[in-house]
Symmetry: C2
Subunit: 380 residues, 2 copies
């Protein structure tokens, strides 16, 4: 029997690739897949309002447990009624475990069987993350989907180190699921647990990790240990190996990925969900993604150009302003520029996954992908 | 006969003060007065989009000739079809002369009969502002209302220095009007010239300056040489002296003013138009104006407060977010916080002048003002 609070329906599979189109049913609403999730690290997608996110056709927003635990603190999010209510976003949310930040931000950390101890980047205070404490933080934050604590090795990493991380992540996942199963039923609102597959660039470890996680039968899976510096082909290979052996009927989230090319390759490999800071971070740095390729708004070639940024885009930025004006905001460092370009980039990413979904539903994903990527390369 | 392109209609005068309510008819639309004009120094009101300005019920936006001359350059604004089109704002605009910036930003400047020579704060280049070159810049920028070059003495300043500035400003105004009368008819769209009254805190100089400017019969007047560090009572006294002798039927703009209290006092003195960076600058610094007084969002007293910022406000910020969330954005320095608080402050200023206008139309301005100022003092 399907869970009435959370389930995943595959509507169509592409005949030319492993891509699939589906719907994720969550307590805060339905999400079409494949989907891109804007990153709202500190309970806001940088520079953008919830109304902007709706205008950009965002369906779900990601929050970060590591950061929210410190600012504003999980109690304050909980008192507000959870992440969605706190940030004024009516749709679904997902929190990652903060594990990636523990392993990427904190220089001093001690990994034990119990968990990981580290110093906060905010105030240097000593923090303990265990599968159980992280679950507690995520329950207080109250997102629709929550991710288990994992150990994320860097790239490159030795086989033995990655194997150790795979095994530890499996034991942590088991503990996370036990606590989750005990406590989830007592909550007013359901939260779907996602377990993280590790294994780096080692195919056998990826497969082993998938098997370990699948045994625990979670509502969803994340593919972790990517976007840590490995070449794109390694990342897509890892995603592909995982997707090949992951249970078909469960959603798959490729953590922290990526460029528009990465996302199209991930979809082809069978990934359903993506998140990345790239559209907002690059937007704040005046680099935008368009149907004709990447554009740097600081470039003086745009100073007198009266055309819109992207004629194929329907976002507020493209409907309202000229390249000349956006260039002016970019070179003067005006906040409005960061905001308008972030809005465009988020809209671009959401439009991209929407178009990918249409192509899957028409079962011509690969030919659609070749065409759109050709436009990016030959456009500007 | 009234100018069909630009005229000012007084609808009602308050019986308890010198306040007046009117309508300013401009080529880009009508503006109810008294009005507050958000400052869009570099062709944008910092952090806010034109759609935000419309939501805040802004009617007119101010641009700055000193800054626009450098970024993006007046030719680029001109090529875009003028300031309104360049910045995506459909309503009326006004440019100040940049004189205030010459006298406040540039340390090295040389004032001569011809004009003022100074070094740009942007690149140190030598720039000449004369009544005629400033007119040229403002014609290229293409706002509906343009302000003549004046000499703005600091506060405090000796009588003789202020007198010299009054006389020079009068001769510059005469030259500005001559050039304007010669060239304005050749333009596709009409621009209304505003002359600036100087005189500092010296009543006789203020009156003399008004007489000099009134003789030149411009479409509108600015009261300048205020907001330069003088006490509030001196500023209001200067505005009041000017309004008493300015031609009744012409609009009056009090340059660079001010706090909500200043604006209410200015309206009482008979001022029709105000501009100030305060609502956006303070918004970026997390200080907001509310119906219950000034609030600093960084204060930890708001960290768990689920109420909205201002229950009497209908702006997007107040409709959507809690004080707790706004406090979180404030202490983490998120751009979205600067933006939401700027939007609220601009909405507050626009709502304030709208309410003032209603009170004038009901001829009970002074009792309305006493009540609203009491709320500010006793509220929080």
């Amino acid at each position: 029997m399907q869970n009435p609070n959370f389930n995943f329906t595959i509507l169509s599979k592409d005949r030319t690739s492993a891509a699939r189109a589906g719907i994720l049913h969550t307590p805060h609403g339905d999400v079409p897949t494949p989907i891109f999730m804007p990153v709202g690290t500190l309970a806001n997608v940088k520079t953008l309002s919830p109304a902007d996110l709706s205008d950009a056709h965002a369906h779900i927003v990601l929050g970060n447990t590591y950061h929210l635990r410190q600012h504003p603190g999980v109690d304050i999010v909980s008192e507000a009624g959870g992440l969605s209510k706190f940030m004024g976003w009516a749709g679904p949310t997902l929190t990652d475990s903060g594990g990636f930040q523990v392993f990427s931000l904190s220089n001093t950390r001690k990994v034990t069987e119990e968990g990981v101890e580290f110093r906060s980047v905010y105030d240097g205070s000593l923090v303990n993350f265990t599968p159980e404490t992280v679950l507690g933080f995520e329950q207080a934050i109250g997102a629709d989907m929550i991710v288990a604590l994992d150990e994320c090795p860097p790239f490159p990493a030795e086989y033995n180190d990655v194997e150790r991380a795979v095994e530890l992540t499996a034991r942590w996942a088991d503990r996370f699921m036990k606590s989750w199963r005990q406590s989830n039923s007592e909550r007013d609102s359901y939260q779907a647990a996602f377990l993280v597959v590790q294994g780096g660039v080692y195919s056998d470890l990826r497969k082993r990790s998938v098997e370990q996680m699948a045994t625990l039968d979670p509502p969803g899976f994340c593919i972790g240990g990517v976007s840590v510096g490995e070449p794109q082909e390694e990342m897509i290979k890892a995603a592909s190996i995982c997707c090949d052996v992951l249970p078909d009927e469960k959603p798959r989230h490729l953590l922290g990925v990526g460029t528009p090319h990465d996302i199209l390759a991930g979809i082809e490999a069978g990934v359903d969900m993506f998140d990345c800071v790239m559209p907002t971070r690059n937007g704040r740095n005046c680099q935008v993604f368009t149907s004709q390729g990447v554009v740097n708004l600081r470039n003086s070639r745009w100073s007198r150009d009266q055309n819109s940024l992207d004629e194929q885009c329907t976002c507020y930025t493209c409907r309202t302003f000229s390249l000349s004006y956006l260039h002016h905001l970019a070179v003067t460092g005006e906040i409005l520029g960061m905001r308008l370009l972030s809005l465009h980039n988020i809209t671009f990413y959401l439009s991209l996954v929407k178009a990918a979904r249409c192509a899957i539903l028409s079962s011509n994903y690969n030919s659609w992908r070749r065409k759109i990527e050709l436009d990016w390369e030959t456009g500007t």
